[in-house]
């Protein structure tokens, strides 16, 4: 069903039909806003992020033809939200609004330069991907939900039918294991 939706939406994009934006909004708008809102902490910023992502997709398709339109759109929204978060964080020079997942990541990722070489980025991504692939699906989903979607703990507990404490403990263990994996690869 979603694949059919994706193909239809991509076809509309390729036809330069503005209905593509409406269909994207209808199918994936809520999820995209949720991700953006979790990162930026603002409903308005989330809406802006979604609009930016829609514009980026409109400009990129064609020639791009994503295999998974939902993941593609989510990634655009997430990147837009992170850009907006960085801008806001730089301006305020204060505690970030998204104190959840990034704070947790700060436990394993030391604060350093924002400049990372392209090759190093690829190595880190490959290491994280390999680490996640070795995890059981539930733990992998939990990790991605927390650190990719930036879903809060309470929502995760309800989503995965776990207690909040259990979610926190599980995530803490996963972070430690990820840190060990990255250190083993010499990436930290």
């Amino acid at each position: 069903m979603e694949a059919t939706n994706d193909q239809t939406i991509i076809a509309l994009f390729e036809d330069r039909n503005e209905q593509a934006l409406a269909e994207s909004e209808r199918h994936y708008g809520a999820l995209c806003r949720s991700v953006a809102r979790s990162i930026t902490g603002s409903e308005e910023d989330a809406e802006e992020c979604l609009n930016d992502a829609m514009l980026t997709a409109w400009n990129a398709i064609p020639p791009e033809k994503p295999k998974n339109f939902r993941a593609y759109l989510l990634r655009l929204v997430r990147n837009a939200a992170l850009d907006r978060y960085r801008a806001a964080h730089t301006e305020k020079r204060s505690a970030d609004r998204n104190s959840g997942s990034l704070d947790e990541l700060a436990e394993i990722i030391p604060n350093g330069s924002d400049v990372v070489k392209e090759t190093e980025q690829r190595e880190i991504l490959a290491a994280v991907t390999a680490f996640l692939q070795k995890l059981p699906q539930k733990q992998r989903d939990l990790f991605v939900r927390r650190y990719w979607y930036a879903t809060d703990i309470a929502a995760l507990a309800e989503m995965f039918r776990m207690s909040e404490n259990h979610v926190k403990v599980t995530l803490s263990r996963l972070r430690k294991r990820l840190k060990a994996a990255l250190e083993k690869e010499g990436l930290l």
Binding site: N68, L74, A106, D114, L142, V144, W148
Partner: protein, 359 residues
Amino acid sequence: MNPLKFSEIISDLPDEMIESAAEPRRKSFPYHILTAAAAGIIMVIAAAIYPKLRMQIPPVTAPPAVTDSAVTASETQTAAAATSQTVSTNTTATDDTASGSASTVSPQQTHTTVSRTESAGVRTETTAAIPPNTELPLETVPYTSTLQKASADTAVFDGTTTMDMIPCVETEHDTTSSAEDKPTSLTESTTVNAYPPDEEETTALKEEECISYQTLTVPVWSKPNGKIPETLPQRNDAECGYEMWSEEQLRAFFGADAPPEEYCETDYDFLAIHCCAPTPDMLILYINLTQIPRCTVMYDLTAADYMNHETVFVIPVPKVLHIDPSAIATSFWPVEADGLFDAYPTNRTDIYYTEQAQN
């Protein structure tokens, strides 16, 4: 790198992971349904099979009558086979004065003896060849049959009295050539085998007899482990006999090293036997398991060395045997070894035991 940069880097995680995490609840498996289905299947199977299993419990029947008729040569041979598993295979010729009649087997004749072991309805037979030129008593007191009867009766037996009934035999055995003095040492002896007493070849065991025999390998500790003294003071009745010891009692007697670690678990009781009279260095201990009908465990204490009147030796007894310490019946049965055979008629102790047990 910082957390924000790391977060940007992982934006390019594979689509599959992002998709999978998008709707995690959709992938949750209804384990409760599986559990309920499995429970239902098990209940159905149990309901179907359990009545049949109950019907397959073998009935307990009365033990077969034992006749006190004259024993054939095969009985004696069978007994010899029982001892030859752990003792020297050179069977010593005997002249049983108790029976008063003995004959010599032809030197050219080779006897094949058969010992049987039956467990869970499966009987195994082992054969042992007695070399030619061996004199075998053709007629003797049927200790084997008597033992069978005793075990069948599962009489509750007073061990103290039994120990008194063990004859104090003056042996001509050279004590200097035997085990050295090892006072107060925890001597880990050799194997203690519990195996079934043999019965005469012509007696067929019925399936429903269900005699359960155990084969065990456990150490035997004795203290002191020395010579038989010249004088043979007797213990008081109260000092003889046997009792079940706890680990603490065992340690108090043998020291902190007893029992070895592998017996410190809860799987063992410790049968402590206080000897009243000197016993030879090779003997067999019968234990009637009164809680297991028709079951006799026979421990072969082949390396217990000399035990004098002060000797206490301890056998770890698996709790699975369910030995009731208050209703245990033991007897010592010396077997042939270095001339002791002559001094100890093989059946003498056992006769005392079984007669007493039947009384």
